[in-house]
């Protein structure tokens, strides 16, 4: 099983690529408000990129309830089991 730290490392890479910004560091409490370009359109690309990175599809019910990056990581850990 992946560790939370390992998930964060890969997730950071995805965020940096999608938002084309190498300074981004996300944590449990990061939300869309914290990243300038993170609007509903970029959210789509972000989800697609995360799905590609971790190799599974996040079901719709889970995508709509995520409130912050912490919950995103919870879902990734759950899905990866």
């Amino acid at each position: 099983m992946m560790s939370r730290e390992a998930v964060y490392e890969r997730l950071n890479g995805v965020f940096r690529e999608v938002f084309d910004d190498d300074t981004i560091v996300v944590n449990d409490s990061t939300t869309a408000d914290d990243i300038e370009d993170w609007d509903s359109f970029e959210h789509i690309n972000l989800i697609v990129a995360i799905e590609e990175e971790f190799g599974f599809k996040i079901p719709m019910g889970k995508t709509v309830t995520m409130k912050n990056v912490g919950e995103m990581v919870d879902i990734i850990l759950q899905m990866g089991e």
């Binding site: 999608v18 084309d20 789509i44 690309n45 697609v48 990129a49 590609e52 995508t63 709509v64």
Partner: protein, 599 residues
């Protein structure tokens, strides 16, 4: 940019589109043409637009966009729309999907009721297209419909008129009928590309319910690439030539080692059949006007012997240039380009050897160098790359290969004459030079978009703009056709001048171009003679010529000087303006072409 050439990695494009765009805009040495594109969406179009922008930039087209609000495709295009009117699109893309069809057959419907429903759906679209062409008079690209992602009746959904698969198929055919009978209207074949991608993945309902995308986000690059190919074709950026390697490309094995008898071609083995199918695929392009050329490291006689096999699909006379020697391939390609008067950027270099591809890619960055993988995939890679995406088929396209072969004959014939003028006279050339004629509008528009070298202003026109200019009495327009004893070259020269001045006695040349296939035939002088004749009859006293230098048109730098114009200005960029005063007595500039002979 390699990342945007087929076969591309769609997920990478979605993820990295921001950095790709930066790269395209910063590193590119291309001079972009700018186009305003309106997208009328029946679904979310944000990413379709952003990825389309990448592919267009990669083709040297810099787009600016108008994007309708979600699902306003019909209202935005059908009714008066000041935003869209002030945007003044060069091209409109109607990005609709099966979700925009609301009225499907019910099982209680009889055949007539279903026909009526279908007619209503299609009429709505026809109304939109009519409104768009009337208001904006520009090319329209229309998505056809993907198949439904469920089939209530299973297989009978396709054959029974109650079935949605049947319904969609018929509606698509109605769209094609419209496309066949209307110019400037192009179908984006979503039905095909969604099948090629995989309909289940393409139509994943997740993306509709989450984001109102009818195409799944990972599939968007395939859609946008397809649209970009149609657009670049409309604006004359297609490839024109296959430059082909031989060993392990057109046949299996090394002919120099194995001998003609032992190469893999014909029907004897699976591998031989695969190469034969590839040769057939290449040969089919010839009919479409794509030129076939050979570029091989081989002994010439050895190479020829491969095509002399009775079971070889391709024959020596299929090629307009054949270079089998030990020169670097970049040298061969450059020489071939010169021989057939085309730029290297018109070439697709097909070679199984990655090292040869890398050299061409490095030395001649505008040549397309597809990564063709292994022989059973050659066709798929080349076909999906969209090099020869066709948006119009002129008679010239269908005859092109023949015309180039005629040119080769002319060159051989020329060597018999010591005096060039005697040679020209012996060609028995006949010119047809008139104002624009409806018969040739598509060819004229095509030429304005394709000609780069013998082109004084490099002004591009769409077919509708050409039609407008032809109607406008403030313009003098001329097309020139040239025929000789070896064959008909078709329409090869275009001239457009605008009448100005208080007394309407000035003519300003907005366009003067000629196809390089008739260089040094005095056709440009025949055009001048007719232009002066026409101008005189309209009371014009002065003609102003303009030369705008580009990376490709230096061959016509002194064109107006040769025509007897006087240079009146030159700016720092090298743009020059020329003046020609029409005197009462005008000496015809050429006497080798017989112009407008009555039959």
């Amino acid at each position: 940019m390699r990342e945007l050439e087929y076969p591309f990695k769609a997920e990478e494009i979605i993820k990295k589109k921001k950095s790709y765009k930066k790269q395209l805009l910063s590193e590119s040495t291309t001079s972009f043409i700018e186009k305003k594109i309106a997208i009328l969406g029946g679904q979310t179009t944000q990413d379709i637009k952003l990825v389309l922008e990448l592919f267009l930039l990669n083709y040297g087209i810099k787009p600016s966009f108008y994007e309708s609000e979600f699902n306003q495709w019909f209202e935005d295009g059908m009714f008066s729309n000041s935003d869209l009117e002030s945007f003044a699109p060069d091209l409109i893309y109607v990005c609709t999907c099966i979700r925009n069809i609301t009225d499907f057959p019910q099982f209680s419907d009889d055949k007539e009721a279903v026909e009526l429903k279908r007619k209503e759906v299609v009429d709505k679209f026809r109304g939109l297209w009519a409104s768009l062409s009337q208001r904006y008079n520009c090319p329209i690209i229309q998505n056809n419909f993907e198949y439904p992602f469920f089939r209530l009746m299973g297989n009978m959904d396709a054959s029974d008129y109650h079935g949605r698969v049947n319904y969609i198929t018929r509606i698509n055919c109605d769209l094609y009928d419209y496309a066949q009978s209307h110019g400037n209207f192009y179908i984006c074949d979503v039905n095909y590309i969604s099948s090629a991608y995989g309909l289940d993945r393409w139509s994943d309902p997740y993306y509709w319910h989450m984001y109102k995308y009818a195409v799944s986000v990972p599939a968007i690059p395939y859609l946008s690439f397809n649209v970009a190919n149609i657009i670049k074709s409309i604006y004359g950026k297609n490839k024109k030539v296959f430059n082909l390697d031989l060993d392990n490309t057109l046949w299996g094995g090394i002919i120099g080692d194995d001998g003609a008898d032992n190469i893999e071609i014909g029907q004897e083995t699976a591998l031989a059949q695969t190469y034969s199918e590839f040769q057939e695929y290449i040969k089919l392009h010839k009919q479409m006007g794509i030129l076939l050329t050979v570029n091989s490291k081989n002994d010439n006689d050895m190479a020829v012997s491969g095509f002399n096999r009775p079971d070889s699909i391709l024959k020596m006379d299929d090629f307009v240039s054949f270079k089998a020697n030990w020169n670097p391939k970049s040298v061969n390609l450059a020489e071939t380009a010169q021989e057939i008067s085309l730029l290297p950027e018109s070439f697709v270099f097909v070679d199984d050897n990655p090292a040869e591809r890398a050299i061409i890619d490095g030395e001649m960055p505008f040549v397309s160098v597809p990564e063709i993988e292994s022989v059973e995939h050659y066709i798929q890679v080349l076909d999906k790359s969209g090099f020869f995406e066709t948006t119009s088929l002129s008679n010239d396209d269908l005859r092109r290969s023949k015309m180039y072969q005629e040119n080769v004959k002319r060159q051989q014939y020329q060597s018999k004459y010591a005096n060039y003028e005697d040679y020209l006279k012996s060609l028995e050339m006949k010119g047809e030079i008139h104002s624009f004629d409806p018969l040739y509008m598509s060819r004229i528009a095509q030429l304005t978009n394709k000609s780069n070298q013998f082109n004084l202003t490099t002004k591009r026109y769409s077919q509708s703009e050409i039609e407008e200019v032809a109607e406008d009495s403030n313009y003098i327009t001329l097309y020139g056709k040239l025929e000789d004893k070896f064959g008909d070259n078709g329409v090869v020269s275009i001239v457009i001048g605008r009448i100005k001045g208080e007394n309407k006695d000035e003519l300003h040349m907005e366009l003067w171009l000629m196809s390089c296939r008739v260089l040094k035939r005095d056709m440009e002088y025949a055009m001048m003679d007719e232009l002066v004749d026409k101008a005189k009859s309209l009371g014009i006293r002065t003609i102003f010529g303009y030369y705008y230098p580009t990376a490709k048109n230096s061959m016509v730098k002194d064109f107006y000087s040769l025509q007897g114009f006087e240079k009146i200005s030159e700016d720092v960029q090298g743009n020059t303006i020329w003046k020609y005063i029409i005197h009462d007595i005008y000496q015809k500039k050429q006497n080798v072409i017989k112009v407008n002979l009555k039959n």
